[in-house]
């Protein structure tokens, strides 16, 4: 059963998103805070490149919010690598207590939800949530070496390379975090790892319906419902499951980053950074500018491992949702 927690007095202070040149060709290019030339970000290995992007995202965020890292009471971070090494390593450069979390591609919403709970319960005045992912490191761990000549199937989604970070606080600002819905890990009853978008649609469906029921809301209450990694195929599957084919404010971050119209990459984008860089740049910006007033972000993740896929075990999927509201001018 998905659980919905509503908050009072939890606000977004500032957010930050960085990515590589490939991610700028879609819809969010102009909203990013820094752009890197390639996956290495000037470093020697893919892992170092991801660490640099994550580190830079935090530094730029602290500058934008005009705070020092010492002001942060608690931090939640995660990524796709084994033992969430990148997030843990970046956190070791700072003094705040660090809670590492793993939700596969839903990590951005999972960490943001947990950070919001801390602020809502007055256990922290300023909480940080961050995540990152990188095509090179993720392919290497979950699939095949990057130069391996395997013919990728059309339903494949490619991991987005970038990092996103967000600060939540009890001090009033324009964007309020109204609630979070934490989803249940759902057995998708399938072992096929080549088409993850469709099976994550099942988790997105369950969390979305639970959220609307728990909050007593409808689709029309929102200006935008943005899902994480469903991409072209998964988004259509979700619309069919909801029986709402005509709903056009239900969009997917994977098709924002790797837009099928001008930068088609198979079915679209996925990865922990996909929803993070889309929402922490464009969505937050548009909320500030009052293009949207009420937004629901649904991060979806597929909780398999390389060994579980080889052993032919069913893939568990999960989705977490965050509700953001534009307040009046403060």
């Amino acid at each position: 059963m998905a659980i919905t927690l509503t908050f009072k007095n939890v606000y977004v202070l500032k957010s930050c998103a960085v990515a590589t040149f490939e991610e700028t060709k879609g819809n969010i290019g102009t909203y990013l805070d820094r752009i890197y030339e390639d996956l290495y970000a000037g470093e020697n290995t893919y892992e170092d490149g991801e660490i640099k992007m994550c580190q830079d995202a935090l530094e730029i965020l602290f500058e934008k919010a005009k705070i020092s890292p010492k002001d942060i009471d608690i931090a939640f971070g995660g990524d796709l690598l084994n033992q969430i090494f990148v997030s843990s390593y970046v956190a070791s450069h700072y003094e705040f207590p660090f809670l590492g979390v793993y939700g596969a591609c839903s990590t951005s919403m999972l960490s943001l939800g947990l950070a919001s709970i801390m602020v809502a319960k007055k256990m922290a005045k300023l909480a940080l949530a961050y995540t990152s992912s990188n095509y090179g490191t993720a392919e290497r761990q979950f699939r095949y070496p990057t130069s391996y000549g395997i013919k990728k199937k059309e339903a494949t989604t490619l991991t987005v390379s970038g990092a996103g970070a967000i600060l939540v606080t009890s001090k009033k600002s324009n964007i309020e975090v109204s609630s979070v819905t934490f989803g249940k890990s759902i057995d998708s009853k399938t072992q096929d790892v080549t088409d993850l978008g469709s099976i994550m649609a099942l988790a997105a469906y369950d969390t979305l319906i639970s959220h609307l029921e728990n909050r007593k809301q409808t689709f029309e209450d929102y200006d935008l419902i943005l899902t994480g990694d469903l991409s072209l195929i998964g988004l259509e599957v979700l619309k069919d499951l909801l029986n709402r084919k005509e709903i056009n404010h239900l969009e997917d971050a994977g098709t924002w980053v790797y837009d099928p119209k001008n930068n088609k990459k198979f079915a679209g984008g996925s990865g922990a950074a996909c929803l993070a860089i889309s929402s922490f740049s464009k969505v937050i910006d548009d909320l500030e500018k009052k293009h949207y007033h009420h937004v629901l972000l649904i991060g979806t993740g597929s909780l398999h491992s390389k060994i579980s896929a080889l052993q032919g075990k069913n893939i568990p999927v999960i989705a977490h949702a965050i509700e953001l509201k534009r307040g009046e001018e403060s």
Partner: protein, 116 residues
Amino acid sequence: MNYFLAFLFSGGICLIGEQLYEHTKLTPGHIVSLFVVIGASLSFFNLYEPLLNLFGGGASTLIMNFGHLLYQSAKEGINEGNYLHIFTNMLTSTSGIITFSTIISFIFALLRKPKV
């Protein structure tokens, strides 16, 4: 004529492999291993030599040839000596391709990091 037959055979086997890849859940690793087994089996029934004679380069370029060479070397070992030669002789024909690929990959890996 030899060239045309080589083209046909090589292309045909690759076509079969492509159908297997597209329509089943087999990965390239599975398909390649399957073809090695097929190569060794055909070689056991003495059916691979005629293929080589007829199609020439078409049959020798595929990974089936790898299975064929392994079995043939093992068989020669048994014929020349005792059963233990199945182990000492197995890699004689395929030694070239394995060692050459390993060494050239090693050199390339030392030179540069992968580019996407």
